[in-house]
């Protein structure tokens, strides 16, 4: 049986080569100047007002989107888990199928929908309703984040809801709890791993995105992701970009730690 463990060997090699070492590279670049000498400057740049603001807005928008995703996803997951739908067809419908339309195109389509003379406003116009003026604002970015990351919240919650034995809910009702008490005392605590995993799976990409703010924010709202992307792709200051990435990784590592704490058995994983 010992040789079975060797099967993980290629993976270990791969993960070290293409996950661990690259992260160390970021670390190296983040802590050095262009000439290769050690410095804290790149990380200290986070404290510059504009970078701090980009980070602050990114945190705020990511937080808001995560909360909205959670509020939208939980009822959805509950309805679906009670419906007895075939799990694979459900995943396909909300998760796999839309992906065959490219992510950039889907996000771009929101521009067409939201613009001042766009589809939604044309419809509102015909109905003589006040127009919706959110394109190029943080609201549009939040919408884009919710739209793109909602499935990542639904799936883990749905999975953890499906794992709850129907008898457990019956038992709580049997012991005198009404529907609301049952939800608060039984269903909700039992889905905590799913919720936590959903939160991190939405929060991290929302925090670090640069594409959504690019496409829906009209270039007026700079998130930390945009700052990093610019550092690499426009001003070619890799050291600064790496330094900012290191700061970003603090949040990512914090998320991982939270997941590890609440979801020890990997119960909340989406897949």
């Amino acid at each position: 049986m010992k040789n079975k463990r060797l099967l993980a060997g290629p993976y270990l090699f791969w993960a070290v080569s293409f996950v661990v070492i690259p992260l160390l590279m970021i670390f190296y670049y983040g802590m050095t100047t262009e000439t290769g000498s050690f410095t804290w400057d790149n990380i200290a740049r986070t404290a510059m007002p504009e970078n701090l603001k980009a980070l602050g807005i990114a945190l705020l928008l990511a937080f808001v989107s995560t909360v909205i995703c959670l509020l939208l996803a939980y009822p959805l997951a509950m309805i679906l888990s009670r419906k007895n739908v075939n799990q694979s067809s459900f995943i396909v419908l909300i998760f796999i199928l839309p992906m065959w339309m490219n992510f950039l195109l889907r996000t771009l389509a929101w521009q067409t929908l939201l613009e001042k003379t766009g589809v939604i406003n044309s419809i509102l116009n015909i109905l003589h309703l006040p127009s919706l003026d959110i394109i190029n604002t943080p609201y549009a970015i939040v919408l884009g984040m919710v739209y793109n990351f909602l499935p990542f919240m639904v799936l883990p919650i749905y999975n953890s809801l499906c794992k709850i034995d129907a008898d457990i809910v019956s038992a709580a009702r049997d012991l005198g709890a009404n529907a609301f008490q049952t939800f608060i005392k039984i269903t909700l605590p039992l889905t905590v791993p799913g919720i936590i995993s959903g939160i991190t799976m939405v929060f991290v990409p929302a925090l670090t995105t640069f594409v959504i703010s690019d496409l829906l924010g009209g270039g007026k709202i700079l998130l930390i992701g945009n700052v990093i992307e610019q550092a690499f792709k426009q001003s070619s200051s890799w050291n600064v970009g790496s330094g900012l990435s290191l700061v970003l990784m603090i949040f990512i590592i914090a998320s991982m730690a939270i997941v590890a704490k609440y979801d020890k058995d990997g119960e909340g994983t989406a897949f």
């Binding site: 396909v92 796999i96 490219n102 995105t209 990435s245």
Partner: protein, 626 residues
């Protein structure tokens, strides 16, 4: 009942949210107008065009090939790893699962960047293989996480029973364990395939020249306006997958109660069958067919090649085909969005481009940093077609006319909608007019935004004076609430679609937008503006210098320059080509070919040095983050 209705309503809302953009894209694919901002009637034109568009088809093929290969390799490595991890002690298992979680939890941008740094540090040429490696890396965790739960459920006793009955461990594994975990393996594969298909960020950072996936192709098109063929392709992909699923899901209905139960199982079995067999088989077939087709194409190709790095949408694709046919030199074509994106790629030397098309100030910077090779003009006899006026202008950044050949030129000005703006516009001051709050489109690049403002203030747009720059910055901050959006080439679509009243735009775009929307007018403000030249240069590390010169020479041929002018509508410095323009209005267009008097106050951008660049960047970031 009310509860049921509310549930249905809620589900409907979510599905509208999820599918509204998809529906929009499908509708756009039938739009006869080239721009998404205008409905020009229904057409199937783009579906025909799609199959003729080699760039999109090859992006599609690379996308599918990368998705398939990365999913396959990830499935092998991941499944093996899952089996290995499952048989480990708890301590090691935790370690491995932590390792697996890193790519899952890590931000895409951090992962993309980290891989890019690795590839460049180890001098691995960015290209197909680096994208593949990156995709495999983020796909493996999906496979592991799909297989692990299955493995946990697998009964160890059945495996031992098989051993007991004389099976070898390998045989026992494939006969007993593998069928048990197969659904997990397959769903891992599917998931990996889809993730790879939809990825943009990581591909964005790890791709190299001559290769585009659909995502990166779309991203480079975003700024120029998405080609409608792309909508058609996405619609086809989406509809075919959807149809396949519907076909499986809706076998003829049986009315009798008893039969229903059977149908359901039959359906789900069919669905499972589809996912296990049909879809993968179709994909393999498609990709193999594509592979044969492309390798067949490849055989025709000679070993001669030239790697071209150009702005997006800045060359008629037909020209490339003609060049390849006439010279037998294979063109590997890559696009960039801004000078600033192009520079580090050339500088790092990770990719040996043969011919690049930067703007004036960037050419100066590249020259200063010794990145350019002298062009052997004996190989470029068609240089004679380029007007002397433009060669003289070029001396500002290429003092001896040794390193560059002008390709396109133009001005930066104001495009405005006559129906939305009352007064005649002749000054940059309109950009600070509160009347047009939320109706102004500003350029989203440092030099253009500052250039406009500096000119408005009466300074040089090459100013390095901190006071002048600070003044400009403050003015830009004042302007920010009035600005609807900071964009680059999207000004075009937005102005055509009547989204804004005023936009700062390159003169080349003006002609196109006027054709689409006659209400638009272009003006060079009286304070003066930027006159720019994009020229072809050859980097020092070019490996096919003579081919590059042949390419430049080809582009200088009047008929070819005319083709490009018709395609991109940017002013050509090729006077011989200008003579060939049939439409008199365009040949004498003030927008395309302004008089010298209009250009009196116009300047070209200069390279200001790294320090000044950093100052500009800092000030710009302050504007953007206000």
């Amino acid at each position: 009942m009310i509860k049921k209705a509310a549930e249905k309503f809620y589900l409907a809302l979510i599905f509208i949210l999820l599918y509204a953009p998809i529906l929009t894209l499908i509708v756009l694919s039938f739009n006869a107008s080239r721009t998404r901002a205008k409905w020009g009637g229904a057409t199937l034109h783009w579906y025909q065009e799609l199959f003729k568009n080699e760039a999109i088809m090859s992006a599609l093929y690379s996308t599918l090939l990368i998705a398939l290969l990365s999913a396959l390799i990830a499935t092998f490595i991941g499944t093996a790893a899952a089996i290995g991890i499952q048989s480990m002690k708890r301590k090691f298992r935790t370690f491995y699962m932590g390792l697996t979680n890193i790519p899952m939890m890590n931000a895409e941008i951090v992962m993309g960047i980290s891989l890019m740094l690795l590839f460049i540090a180890f001098r691995i040429n960015l290209g197909f293989s680096t994208i593949l490696i990156a995709h495999i890396t983020f796909n493996i965790p999906y496979v592991i996480l799909s297989v692990m739960p299955r493995l946990k459920q697998t009964n160890r006793h059945t495996y031992e029973a098989a051993l007991d009955l004389g099976a070898s461990p390998l045989y026992a594994f494939f006969k007993v364990i593998f069928p048990d975990i197969l659904p997990g393996v397959l769903s891992g594969f599917m998931l990996a395939f889809t993730m790879s298909l939809d990825d943009f960020v990581i591909t964005h950072f790890t791709k190299g020249p001559g290769i585009d996936t659909l995502s990166t192709k779309i991203y480079s098109e975003v700024r120029k306006g998405i080609k409608p063929e792309m909508y058609a392709l996405s619609t086809l992909l989406f509809i075919s997958v959807l149809l396949l699923l519907l076909l499986i899901n809706f076998s003829p209905k049986d009315s009798s109660q008893k039969a229903r139960k059977q149908t359901i199982t039959r359906r789900s079995r069919a669905l499972a069958f589809a996912f296990k067999r049909v879809i993968p088989t179709l994909l393999v077939l498609a990709v193999t067919a594509g592979g044969i087709y492309y390798s067949f194409q490849g055989q025709k190709r000679s070993k001669q090649k030239v790697i071209v790095y150009n702005w997006g949408e800045y060359l008629d694709p037909e020209v490339i085909t003609m060049f390849e046919e006439e010279t037998g030199i294979d063109v590997i074509y890559e696009e960039f969005e801004t000078n600033e994106i192009m520079y580090p790629k050339v500088q790092s030397g990770a990719i040996a481009y043969d011919v690049v098309c930067p703007s004036d100030y960037m050419i100066q910077k590249m020259l200063d940093n010794g990145l350019l090779a002298e062009i052997n003009f004996d190989n470029v006899p068609n240089l004679k077609n380029i007007g002397q006026r433009y060669m003289d202008k070029s001396r500002e950044f290429d003092p001896e006319n040794k390193y560059s050949v002008p390709y396109c030129w133009g001005t930066v000005g104001i495009l405005y909608n006559k129906t939305m703006v009352d007064e005649p516009i002749d000054s940059w001051s309109i950009l600070w007019d509160d009347k047009y709050r939320d109706n102004i489109l500003m350029q989203d690049s440092v030099r253009d935004a500052f250039g406009v403002t500096l000119k408005y203030l009466g300074y040089s747009l090459n100013s390095t004076d901190l006071d002048e720059l600070t003044e400009a910055m403050n003015l830009l901050i004042v302007q920010k609430p009035l600005v609807q959006a900071y964009v680059i080439d999207q000004v075009r679509d937005k102005m055509i679609g009547n989204e804004a009243a005023i936009g700062v735009i390159y003169s080349g775009e003006a002609i196109y937008t006027q054709n689409e929307n006659p209400d638009l007018e272009y003006v060079i403000p009286k304070e003066g503006s930027n006159i720019w030249i994009d020229s072809w240069v050859i980097p020092k590390n070019a490996e096919h210098k003579e081919n590059a010169e042949a390419f430049i020479n080809f582009l200088c041929r009047p008929d070819i320059a005319l083709m490009n002018f018709d395609y991109i509508t940017y002013s050509t410095p090729n006077t011989a080509a200008r003579e060939l323009i049939e439409d008199e209005d365009i040949r004498n267009s003030k927008i395309a070919f302004p008089d010298d008097s209009e250009l009196e106050h116009c300047e070209t951008f200069h390279y200001l040095g790294d320090e000044a660049d950093a100052v500009y960047m800092d000030l710009w970031n302050k504007v953007k983050s206000k």
